[in-house]
């Protein structure tokens, strides 16, 4: 912890008493330095989040934001007993569309993050080797990352176009498919299309994070392993992987959180397709488009809760150090 040092050194340098008051003075300054940022974050993050939770417990509608009545947890689950004795369940928690979205989100996130991690590691291993044109390759893989998500969605939508798309043309010429496929419109292939684009777009990010981890592994370890004649595959699994595990864990959680909240790619690439609709997409649909503001709020609150639980479990079980303070 480098931050500890100035105070400690100053105390010996200037004298204990003035050192202490200096520390107090610095803490006071720190408070005023942090205050504007904290107020701004409260206004754009904490307050809207609290309001969303509040809306989810009311029957507010989009056109009448202040006319909502408290209805408790009815948006989540409402049990009605009809006069003839049958019990009816209503609310998000028994809504098949919501559970379909949850399943889509989980499926998308797990598959995309696993693929990106494996591919990212491969790309990072390539970039970690010394060869001619390495700088060029590193510049090339930055391009998918730099392209706005909407633009990549449109680019791929065009490449995946059923009639004129170049990917169908390629696959036909190579004999991989016998007839043109409507990748984004067909419910069987829509998820593959989304995964393809997401993996293309975010593997560079993963590769760069893995590369940063790989570059911290001292070279002489590899030299020693080479002299001992150990199989490179064994070196990777026994030496490299354990050493870059902390960097990898952090990269995976960031990617996972990003994947779990995905909205833009799916909204543009496969609009209104039940087979790709994620939690974010269905929440916004209810919030803004279907005039079920409170219902959508309940769904976005659930999304937030799911993510919060997931992150806590991940950090706790994986012993991930995110703050960067412990490692320094």
């Amino acid at each position: 912890m480098t931050a500890l040092k100035p105070a400690a050194n100053l105390q010996t340098g200037i004298g204990r008493e003035s050192g202490l008051s200096l520390q107090k003075q610095r803490q006071k300054a720190a408070f005023w330095f942090l205050a504007p940022m904290l107020i701004a974050l409260f206004c754009v993050a904490a307050w809207p989040l609290l309001r969303t939770v509040w809306f989810s417990l009311t029957d507010t509608s989009l056109n009448n934001l202040y006319g909502g009545k408290w209805i408790g947890f009815d948006n989540y689950l409402r049990v009605q007993t009809l006069s003839n004795g049958t019990v009816r369940y209503r609310g998000t928690l028994v809504d098949p569309a919501w559970w379909n979205a949850v399943w889509n989100t989980v499926r998308f996130s797990v598959v995309s993050v696993v693929c990106e991690t494996v591919l990212g590691l491969i790309v990072a291993l390539v970039l970690n080797a010394e060869f001619k044109g390495r700088g060029f390759v590193r510049a090339a893989i930055l391009i998918p990352w730099a392209i706005p998500t909407i633009v990549s969605a449109k680019m791929w939508a065009w490449m995946l176009n059923d009639q004129y798309g170049i990917l169908n043309d390629m696959a036909l010429n190579l004999g991989l498919i016998s007839s043109k496929i409507a990748w984004t419109a067909n419910s069987d292939t829509a998820m593959y299309a989304v995964l393809m684009v997401d993996i293309w777009k975010t593997t560079p990010f993963m590769a760069l994070l893995c590369l940063a981890g790989l570059q911290m592994v001292p070279r002489d370890i590899y030299e020693a392993a080479k002299i001992d004649g150990i199989n490179p595959v064994k070196v990777f699994f026994k030496i490299t992987l354990p050493l870059i595990r902390p960097a990898l864990m952090v990269a995976v959680i960031f990617r996972m959180l990003d994947a779990l909240r995905i909205f833009d790619l799916i909204y543009v690439l496969t609009p209104n397709s039940a087979s790709t609709k994620t939690m974010s997409v269905i929440s916004r649909e209810n919030l803004i488009e279907f005039d079920k503001f409170a219902y959508g709020s309940a769904q976005s609150t659930l999304l937030f809760a799911i993510l919060a639980i997931f992150v806590s479990l991940y950090i706790w079980l994986g012993k991930v150090d995110l703050s960067g303070e412990g490692g320094k």
């Binding site: 931050a3 100035p6 340098g13 200096l22 003075q25 300054a29 720190a30 408070f31 942090l34 904290l38 701004a40 974050l41 754009v44 809207p48 989040l49 969303t52 809306f55 934001l65 790309v123 390539v126 060869f131 060029f136 390759v137 510049a139 893989i141 391009i143 730099a146 392209i147 706005p148 909407i150 633009v151 990549s152 449109k154 680019m155 065009w158 004129y164 798309g165 043309d169 293309w200 560079p204 994070l209 952090v250 960031f254 990003d258 779990l260 909240r261 909205f263 833009d264 909204y267 939690m279 974010s280 929440s283 959508g296 976005s300 609150t301 937030f304 992150v311 995110l322 703050s323 303070e325």
Partner: protein
């Protein structure tokens, strides 16, 4: 032995070629398409047949697209300047001053930068209509602060932690207040970090879609991603692929150039932040 070695290096370079082609091809194909018009658009051409600027003229000569670009530039720049302004002092406090609860505060800031944006959408919608900002660029500047501010604070904190202690000590011995230390001592050293962080935050704001889609309602207030997503042709069935690709190329080329110029710094910033910009 040598044959084996040759085989290995051929396999390695084949892998390199696959990576490069896979990375570059979609954008290359977008450029090829953006120069195609008429029937050439509906043939799968791997190389450009002719350089026809008609799509670019259509997009840039259109009623709203130039305006959309200006909107994006204004929103992204203002957001970044605002975030950096607040983040410099805050990250000094977080990186250099020891106080109770600092670790918790850092974790909270990181958590906010990872917020699912949909979770605040309803509350932000209320706030924005209450302030009368709906369908104005300021609605976007306000809402983008939720990801640009925590990101800039987080990355600048990691940069500031690495500045040498001795400089600060010397300044304190000379009687400099924390404010003087930030503005006169640290800021000149932080320029590279500010450029990197600012650029990453700019890319994030430039690419944002969910808030821009929700908080704008007319064509002239849209930002570039929304404009591209909603670009439509004369009829519902006819998607104007040529102009869409031209618009995509127009908004992506400056980003790619910036990213390639600041390549090394961006990689450093990304790994320091660990956050997707």
């Amino acid at each position: 032995m040598t044959a084996n070695k040759l085989l290995k290096s051929v396999a390695f370079y084949a892998l390199v070629v696959v990576i490069v082609v896979f990375s570059i091809f979609p954008f290359y194909y977008a450029i090829v398409t953006s120069f195609a018009t008429g029937t050439a658009l509906f043939e799968a051409n791997y190389f450009p047949k002719a350089f026809d600027w008609a799509n670019y003229k259509a997009v840039l000569g259109g009623a709203t697209f130039p305006r959309n670009i200006l909107n994006s530039v204004f929103v992204a720049t203002t957001t970044v300047v605002f975030a950096l302004f607040l983040a410099v002092t805050a990250s000094y406090a977080l990186a250099r001053v020891r106080f109770r609860g600092r670790g918790l505060l850092l974790m909270t800031i990181l958590a906010v930068s990872m917020f699912p944006q949909i979770a605040v959408l309803a509350g932000l919608f209320e706030l924005i209509t209450y302030l009368g900002l709906f369908n104005s660029p300021f609605a976007l500047i306000l809402s983008y602060t939720i990801f640009t501010l925590p990101f800039t604070v987080w990355v600048l904190t990691t940069f500031m932690r690495d500045l040498p202690v001795e400089i600060e000590e010397a300044a304190i011995v000379d009687g400099a207040t924390p404010w003087i230390i930030i503005t006169k001592v640290f800021l000149p050293l932080l320029w590279p970090a500010l450029v990197t962080t600012g650029l990453l935050a700019f890319i994030g704001a430039w690419n944002e879609f969910l808030f821009a889609l929700t908080f704008t309602s007319s064509e002239s207030t849209r930002t570039v991603p929304v404009a591209i997503a909603l670009l439509s042709g004369a009829s519902q069935q006819e998607i104007p692929w040529g102009p869409i690709m031209a618009a995509s190329v127009i908004v992506t080329v400056p980003l790619i150039i910036l990213v390639l110029i600041f390549q090394r710094k961006i990689v450093a910033g990304l790994t320091a932040g660990g956050v997707k910009g």
